[in-house]
Symmetry: D2
Subunit: 467 residues, 4 copies
């Protein structure tokens, strides 16, 4: 749950979007607003909602938080009983308005539009192919590719979607809306989450179940890998565009991205993190006085560590809730003199203590080093860093913003070297096996820890080779 | 740590301001920005900074968060080595721009200005008296009264301030700035906090010590009740305007207002809350499965309760971080259908569990009722509410926004009745004695729990009588 | 020269865009900003600029005036020596962000983009055809069609453009930019203006020559009907995609749209209006005391009328300069009581006078009626309305926002009836022959006066038939 | 009628405010909005409205145009049947929010507030005296002084106002509002305009009569010099606070500030300007081809010149209507290459012509020089500058922003030298006698032309002496 510029503040990685849809409900726009608000942690740079009143589709979108893009006036303008919406995180090169979703197709045969979470690994290949056939691309989002593929497929609309899905490789969770139908789609490896729920007399689709709770929807089930769910006036129908499916849910969803109150494939995120913390403690024998977590995403693991280790759980770090986009940054000189905006250490808690500091992951290492320093400045005598996941040593090509080895410190350093770098007294990670134990789903994608990718990588292959 | 409209969302009470000052530092404006940012939880409706370059005073202020009122351009415009700043919460009737602080006096003998936290109980009497002598008031803030009193006193500037202080009854912490001096002032009962620190080659003054940590200042000491501290080019000097002093620090600062990483009169806020939670548990014999806290202010007490009771501490409630001022509210119908924006219960944690829910206080009771319902909807079999303070049964006239008995549910209901009202299985409060044990400072103001006020109440006396 | 909501205030028609481009100049973005600022009267609802530094294209666009979409920060971000820009007026149904221009194609073979003024009359036919071949359309702008056509043509880039042009029927002036080339294109009937100039060591292209003056460019020549001008590092080259050309410049450009300081096809706009006023006077024998014009577009004609008639020219109507987009409107009751925001009559000028009121055109008649009333309320004894063009009796399909007969009062009423309707004492129009005399260009499109359209109308034909 | 940054663009002087009030009308806030909108040319930097519903006063104010400070929501919030409002131009040192008007006094005996146009010349003396008696000043506006004086006077409210007026020397037009009364006040020399009108069942007060036309009010009469008009539920009553009155209406109101459709002391502004142009022509024998005016304020004089001289009136200069506050400025290099934002010359009009260019006044000379150059660049063979007023050679201390001799070019140069400086072929001014002839009111203040001031100057005297 992060604000936009957190990456630069904390060195954390970013998820690249949340999707949400409602079908046949009253005030579809405002329910989407509430739902997207619950998914805001998945992307803070742009937001959009498209609604349909059964005849016509209206779309409003823009840069910023959902609360910045929409207000009462705009929400009220959007009549409709169906809606899809999107919150977006974007990398530097893709911050153009053309990439903000939903992306709409205004066709003489009927308008339709889509929202997307994930990353299509054969996007350049598909795009080049489509361009050679005469298509033009206004943005660089994968949604646009999906829409082009649909347009060029033959058959009924659901057949077109299935045809398009068969051409795309990678991680994707799409919601597609026509004026009177809605389609929920997941990739065949099940890399990105997408769930279905009842809402009023209709349905609700969301990247995370936490959005269901907020709008009062009742969870039905997850969309299956390789499945297209079609919701129309004649009810919900399921289509499978392939039989070659896996259940490679992204492990980072549990470890870092998802909200603790979400459940993914039946497993509550907080519970899995707490479990991870317990496992970390069980294989640990460090002598310490207190356990603290790095807020917010590591608090669950810290509680688990405390419970299993018997060491008291403490609030040793405070996060300032008012850091936002327009935030003025301290100058380098101010930073050196100790000006800190985001995290504070509670001196009276950590002073004179041997501290176990639990964090969810280490990406670049700079943040960990800064927090360790913060704790030592506040008087901690020892800082033992425990990471509730394995070393993040390989880039992700499925929707997480870490695309090179260079930016991953665990690709360059072993644990001992890294421990020295972050100035910790000791440093421990989990093993991949422990992670699987903490997250007892059918299967996980742990490629960023193992370097074993569940799909072909197409042009990204060269990143792997360059290493 | 609350956003503007939280009162309506949660029924919580509000602090009415934070003050901050720096003397003889480089980039005084941006350090004030960072300092006020750390105090943002004390007021989100308006903010302002006045700087002095030793010759001239510049003041910029406006409505909104500190990050909304200031940006790089405005901060850079404000040259100066001294600065005072303010964050403000305001009651409905006082939201005019005239009340936003700092309030400046542009006098032919030299400009000066002030920021204020607290409430002067003889404000109307003083104001009427001053008006009868020819003064005019543009706003309704107590700072304006202070400035008028200073102007009419005789002697050196510090003598004028001391004369003014002797006339004011109630709770106040002022920082006053002339073009080359700064004055920190506390009321004789010590009701509102104010502390002094070293910063670079100069000094820093703040309502809470958490702001010192953020700007890299080193705590020196608290300003004393009845003291005026004068900071000038010849150093720091202390003046006492009265000998009749008490140490009646507001108990609610520890219980609810202050940030957990602040220390007030040498006692860390988080530690006192944790202690309160332990005391609550020690006098409790409820049978339960887990302990949860209402985020954010009750987490410390919940941890303490968990530790003392041996019941596992859990994250059962999640707070949405992106709720802001411009937030669209669910309609009544949506609310009834379960649309909830602010807090979510984690069903997989609380379902089937007997839950001890720790909260810091109950004001109107509506929020507690809503949260209990949230937990029961999420499957909690029992909800035992434990409040880490005594029943809030009397209005506060010292800067907390609860000025009538009507809005205080504990003024109207006993504990059993209130337990039924909020639909809890059991409900327990602390005693005032336990509170004093948890907060071992010299003395506390517990008037909102006891109805015993440390000062005369002047025109507010009629509120008491009306009861 | 009109603000956004003027149509509703004055019943005037709207032009639908201005285009501007610079090639090989320093600070291309800020020169485009200045140029578009000079064209702001052609569209106030959205604006955008795309720049190229020879390697990469950057595009920023949004809703509002050019001064609202861009500021120093955004302009400075846009490096580049080439640029194209657009100001847009949009009809109600086309106000989506997808229609704001420039529209960019991000292709693996190189990015390119376009800006457009005009209206393609076979747009639906082309769009349907392209969709059937697999293209998708995100917006409803004609630029998007052009870009699709280009993409599907074969040959060099200029050949692709020429191929695309041959398929489009209607009115168009395009500027197309690749990373290192620029193309200026006009339709074969020459319905919309587009001119070329020298600027610094490079070139400048604009809808109107007034923009040349503002950026210091030196006029070279108009782009020819049916011509594609290619500007590249090897200089300017001309291509003609067809020989079947006409010179049907839109008469309304002279009468109403263009700025008086622009010259179109060598004829200054102010001079042609003045000439029209003189012709109006020469065929008139009304007895009156003064001549006034309706600001701003009719002042030139009023001066011409005054000169030819010998009647004194007076300032009888004042226009409020501060009416803007966010303007609060008077209620109906306030309007009836005489609350007027936009135009005021100077009573001391018109009181007791027989007034000749010169206006450029009558579209709905409501504005004329309101202004006549304004003058009579201010004491004018007679109001003789003289229109510096013929009756506007047929819809325009070439880029002017009047697409039905219903909204054109001259399609429903004769001159006498209209005179009664607007409550004038007498009413006279020009003849089409007089208009041609006032605007001595090679040929004019006068279809909105004559109902004779210079192109096939495709699906718009049914509007004509419905009449 | 100028935008904020016009001074820097054109070298023109600034008026310092417009005031407006309505008493006993429906929707007082929106009528004030419309009225202030008509007065916007008198100040574009800040605006405010205070309303009273007979019991309570509400005040909203801020920086920017009236359309920027208010929107439908804020206007609708302001219940009330009485209102006063203000538009403000401010000098650099006085741009603080404390100076934005109305300024309210919140007194235990009843709230009241004031708006002001003018300048009190003994302001520092009064302020120092008041401060010595214990008053504090938050801003530097003269309204605040007036409010302090009122507070300290004895008697009924109207007696307090009259007492205050007797103490103030200089130029002032105040509107003062209590919860149920309104007071209109002018200084004893009548330097600033203020008029009274009927509106609905109540009354309207305005700096200029053009605002009456816009809200549908019917002019009654001007407030007299030395008069206090009290409007209350028992009707309108007149009070005279002194018998030593003069009628020294500011000549610059006619020449430059006021809107042409306003009438001041019974004389229409446009008519007086036209008359001035005629007088200029009658004493002129220049041989020329055309007459042009510098838009907007000099068009009336140019028309008069044309009529009296027989030379044709032409539109030779066009002003861009979209220049606003946030406008990006051309760089020096761009400026040298001919980038011009504000004014354009129509080459086809002026090329090869001997031009008489009529302007209202010359302050710094830089603008005139720039415009002459513009015309010569556009091909004018001769430019004869005719100024419709006498040389502006002395500073104004009565509300016009020219407070030093240094900035007035006519204080330093004779006509011949100035003619050379602005690069005109010939240059002529009017005489003061001609100005009086053109503006046949009882008497005028022409101190900025004559150096003879109608009041004592107090501390401003030193400016005169320094010369």
């Amino acid at each position: 749950m992060k604000m936009e510029n957190e990456y630069f503040l904390t060195g954390k990685i970013h998820e690249e979007c949340g999707v949400f849809g409602v079908y046949h409900v009253s005030s579809a726009a405002s329910l989407s607003y509430f739902g997207l608000h619950a998914l805001q942690h998945r992307g803070q740079e742009a937001a959009g909602i498209a609604t349909s009143d059964g005849k016509q589709i209206t779309c409003i979108k823009g840069k910023g938080l959902i609360t910045e893009v929409f207000n009462n006036e705009t929400i009220n303008k959007m009549d409709g009983i169906h809606a899809i919406g999107h919150v977006r995180y974007s990398t530097d090169g893709g911050n153009e308005i053309e990439n903000v979703q939903p992306i709409m197709v205004r066709a003489h045969t009927g308008h339709f539009g889509a929202v997307h979470n994930g990353q299509i690994v054969n996007a350049s290949e598909l795009k080049e192919d489509l361009e050679n056939q005469g298509s033009i691309f206004q943005g660089s989002s994968d949604s646009e590719i999906m829409l082009h593929l649909i347009q060029r497929e033959a058959g009924t609309f659901v057949e077109k979607i299935m045809g398009a899905c068969r051409k795309m490789e990678g991680a994707f969770a799409f919601i597609i809306m026509t004026k009177d139908c809605m389609y929920a789609v997941r990739d065949k490896n099940g890399l990105r989450p997408l769930s279905l729920a009842f809402l009023e007399d209709g349905y609700c689709i969301s990247s995370e179940t936490c959005a269901f709770d907020i709008v009062g929807a009742k969870f039905i089930r997850d969309i299956e890998p390789g499945e297209v769910v079609r919701i129309a006036s004649d009810g919900v129908k399921s289509f499978h565009y392939t039989q070659e499916v896996q259940h490679k849910m992204c492990a980072m969803e549990y470890i870092y991205f998802a909200r603790p109150d979400s459940s993914i494939e039946g497993i509550n995120v907080h519970t899995s993190r707490r479990h991870a913390g317990m496992l970390l403690a069980q294989s640990d024998d460090v002598e310490a006085d207190i356990v603290i977590g790095v807020p917010d995403s590591s608090l669950s693991a810290a509680i688990g560590y405390s419970e299993a280790s018997g060491l008291p759980y403490e609030i040793g770090l405070i996060k300032n809730r008012y850091v936002g986009r327009t935030f003025i940054q301290p100058t380098q000189q101010q930073r050196e003199r100790g000006v800190r905006m985001k995290l504070s250490a509670i001196s009276s808690i950590v002073s004179g203590k041997r501290v176990v500091m639990v964090d969810d992951s280490i990406v670049r290492g700079t943040t960990s080093r800064r927090i360790v320093q913060l704790l030592k400045d506040a008087g901690a005598t020892e800082v033992h860093v425990r990471i509730a996941s394995a070393p993040f040593s390989s880039p992700c090509f499925y929707g997480v913003d870490t695309s090179t080895y260079e930016e991953l410190i665990s690709a360059r350093m072993g644990v001992d070297e890294l421990c020295t770098y972050i100035n910790a007294d000791t440093l421990k990670f989990m093993t991949i096996e422990q992670m699987r134990e903490a997250i007892p789903t059918r299967d996980l994608c742990v490629s960023c820890f193992s370097g074993q990718y569940p799909t072909a990588l197409f042009s990204f292959q060269k990143v792997i080779k360059k290493k």
